[in-house]
Symmetry: C2
Subunit: 530 residues, 2 copies
């Protein structure tokens, strides 16, 4: 008996999403067997046949939902509380006002052309769903230099507190590690683990890997820089003296430095030319009046026939009610906690427990001293100070001024930076950190702006604190006809790609429901995946 | 007694160039104490007072010499054999003809906008002299992605000959090395070398560095990719299985892969937007009729009063003689060997012995399958095949077609690639290599062009074979009034920065001679370095 399409698809859905679907599609030869996501294949294009969907929140997940469902014949309405879409995808430029929930206000007065992405600032090349939309919507991209070896590291316990170049830390560490391993091998310590042939090959390899001397000692490497640089005179170049391994351990800078090895931080990285918000703006242009701006959701009710949402139209002061067959809820949990909704008890419990990090950035406008005086073009410096990160712009290199980030806290709570009680103190710590890395240049920093997502209305947080996803697993399934979408419901929390994948999941789930209502054609495997 | 300026400067010159000057200036606090070149400080601005200079060859060293000396009041004439300047800085576009010394001719028919730099293709951010000229001449630069973790590695001895992503090799290797070192430490093998405190800290560090399990084993890392990628379903992402260390050693790919750690290949790297030859073109525009094109030098004579150069004006067929007070010779040694010159015997000997590598590149025009199907944006793949390198373009990412380099031989002589007897065989090997990395895509490659610098007239080689500089040390000093400039007279052979530094050296040496002819003012240290 032929398996019905409905049963087949339900089974795929029940297998729990993209992991299973990915493996399945790999087996069907539909995807190259590579360790990266190929999610565009995962949006099933199920016609909506006029089914209505109300989408709550115009973050990336909400925008993609409205965009794709609209193209499939669903009739969508997107309710967005702000006068802009994008959610945490927010680019601040001259003229933008930043308002905190406690009333604190900042106005951006930077020069035309300068901007800061205060939410997402990177698009990895392996985030193919987001890159796919950039192509589709003709959003120009430029390389975001996430790793630059001229950047600096600063710890009071290293080099007398003076910053050292990242290339020294990376390459001296590898030299020391290689020397120690070669020493162990030569002592016979690994004779049980390596054949004698492998021992020889490991030693030969380690000598290259660590740039060791002929007798397997690490005496410094020019990968780390020069004492006597290569010139056009008689003197041979000489490598800079190596930093001792115990000093590198003392410095305790590895947590920052190893970030660049996370797969989502590896070259090649991108950013839109002119600001990350070009992405939501492009979606908004396509969606037109599908989006209702300044629509502040007040109440959500649902039953087996549909969803009813009541919102305050902040422009007119009127309360408006809208009914739809389905709802995709893209509201961040801290905000959702404040909305009057008749969720099931287990759903309500998960929402109530959803804690978000107070992530923040501080950005300054300055002459590009990091380029002109330090050869730093993009990339990140790390410090063991209350401010731990300085991030250099990849936008508009070689122009006179730019925006430099001094401080990017994943979560302010319980950290020395978060313990600084006033905005002034935080901004001062930011300037001090940049001064530590670039002595004499702290005074060039002007017009600081501080965004703490925990204090931004309609966000109330940067991202879900518990990244494992386990705490919100219930929300991967709908509550009746309400589907929850957003990066927090993915394994890519904090990434726009996670938001996109979650939107696909929700849309696919809705598609299964819509198909249930149709007559049941016989199943064929090729049709199943169209 | 006050040291005369002349004596002081002579002493600096005698110290052998930039190494000594750099240290000296560091001590005077004139330079940040960093391991990179700061060469702009090293061109002494000595007025020429109308002294005449004939410059032979319009490579980067010749162009910079003419440009700077002209600004200092010298009267320069630059003789360039070709109808273009730049030397090996050569960008091929639609309409350009490539002619070899044996008569073999190729015509470039690529689409408008596509190009290939067949000589230098990279500008490191630490090559501050060249970057300085790009700023000064308003040459727009873009990031040249030299390292991209989505690139591939292929060895018949690894993974059944199927290419693996670079990120796997890099990160799995580090995992294995970390595990082996942790094992050695835990066995007590390094108890003589590490304090017990350092042992503990090393172990903690190695666990992060190699992404080891709690018990210090390397079981794979998601830095290398995924078996189950992170999605928006219930399944947790799972790291890709690690490649075994002995397979990584078998693969023997490290020589290629470690190239990215050379200081001159480290991020951030640049290239001019639209082609490297924007640099010589910009100089040419500034120099105007200082440059005589198609001036093929035939004869060089010199004495204590000046230099006489005879050249063939290829446009008219006339022989022309020009006299000057000084000469800067920027002709590559293999070409200089063919010119009738009255060099001193020791100089003649060095020139005659100068051997150059036959370096080559092959470039194709193609749909950007590497971007669209492999997420590869810039960067380099490595193979253990006759063609060892595939280099992906950083120019015009996300456009439909691009130029991909399949094969970049440092020196063809004595290599499997060089042993391929015909151009067709080399081009075929290039296509095969790209096919090995990207199965099914070899057929998309079109319009191949092959440049072997050993066969290019007026070059006759890629760069000096002996990089140590020792073989040409005699040429760091003039022969009478003839000064030798070019990358081959620097410790940055093969780099435009080396050419620039060599030009500064020659100009500084000429400056000393010009000053000797002037009355001798008392010396003050601040004036010495102006």
């Amino acid at each position: 008996m032929a398996v019905t399409r409905r049963a087949f698809l339900t089974r795929i859905g029940q297998l729990g999403g993209y992991g299973a679907a990915f493996t399945f599609m790999q087996q069907l030869g539909l995807l190259p067997a590579m360790g990266v996501t190929h999610e565009q294949a995962k949006l099933r294009k199920v016609p909506g046949n006029g089914a209505t969907v109300v989408i709550l929140g115009g973050g990336i997940a909400g925008l993609i939902s409205a965009y794709e469902l609209g193209r499939l014949g669903y009739r969508c309405t997107l309710l967005e509380a702000r006068d802009r879409v994008g959610g945490r995808n927010w680019t601040v430029r001259r003229g933008v006002k930043i308002e905190f929930t406690d009333g604190f206000t900042q106005n951006c007065e930077w020069e035309e052309g300068n901007y800061q992405n205060f939410g997402p600032g990177r698009l990895p090349s392996i985030h193919t769903t987001m890159l796919g939309y950039c192509r589709e919507l003709n959003i120009p991209l430029e390389v975001e230099v996430n790793t630059s070896r001229c950047t600096l590291l600063q710890s009071d316990k290293l080099n007398g507190g003076a910053a050292v170049e990242q290339r020294r830390m990376i390459n001296d560490t590898r030299g020391h590690v290689s020397e120690l391993l070669a020493k162990s091998i030569n002592k016979g310590a690994l004779d049980q683990d390596l054949t004698s042939e492998d021992k020889e090959r490991m030693l030969t390899f380690l000598r290259e890997y660590g740039d060791l001397s002929h007798d397997f000692l690490f005496k410094g490497t020019d990968r780390s820089g020069f004492k006597i640089p290569p010139g056009a005179g008689k003197e041979d170049p000489t490598a800079i003296d190596p930093l001792p391994m115990h000093a590198l351990l003392d410095a305790d800078l590895w947590q920052g430095l190893l970030s660049e090895d996370a797969i989502d931080w590896q070259a090649t990285m991108f950013q839109p030319v002119g600001g990350m918000d070009l992405i939501p703006k492009a979606f908004a242009k396509q969606l037109g009046d599908v989006i209702r701006y300044q629509a502040d959701v007040q109440k959500i009710r649902h039953d087996h026939e549909g969803v009813t949402v009541t919102y305050l139209d902040c422009k007119t002061g009127q309360t408006v009610t809208i009914k739809a067959d389905y709802c995709i809820c893209n509201i961040p949990l801290p905000v959702l906690q404040t909305i009057d909704a008749d969720f099931a008890p287990d759903v309500r419990e998960v929402i109530a427990a959803g804690a978000y990090d107070s992530s923040s950035k501080i950005a300054w406008e300055s002459r590009r001293f990091w380029e002109q005086d330090y050869n730093i073009y993009g990339g990140i410096s790390y410090l063991r100070q209350p401010v731990e990160i300085v991030w250099y712009p990849s936008a508009r290199m070689f122009t006179p001024t730019g925006i430099i980030v001094g401080g990017y806290a994943d979560n302010e709570s319980g950290t020395p930076f978060g313990d600084l009680r006033t905005v002034e103190a935080k901004i001062s710590a930011s300037r001090q950190a940049i001064e530590l890395l670039h002595p004499g240049h702290g005074k060039e920093l002007t017009r600081p702006l501080y965004v703490n997502w925990g204090k931004i209305p309609y966000a109330l947080g940067g991202w879900l604190s518990d990244y494992s996803g386990k705490s919100i697993q219930r929300l991967l399934e709908p509550d009746g006809r309400i589907y929850f979408a957003g990066d927090y419901t993915s394994h890519l929390s904090g990434w726009q790609e996670g938001a996109a994948l979650s939107a696909y999941r929700s849309m696919n789930q809705i598609g299964i429901e819509v198909e249930k209502k149709r007559p049941d054609p016989p199943f064929s495997s090729s049709a199943a995946l169209s």
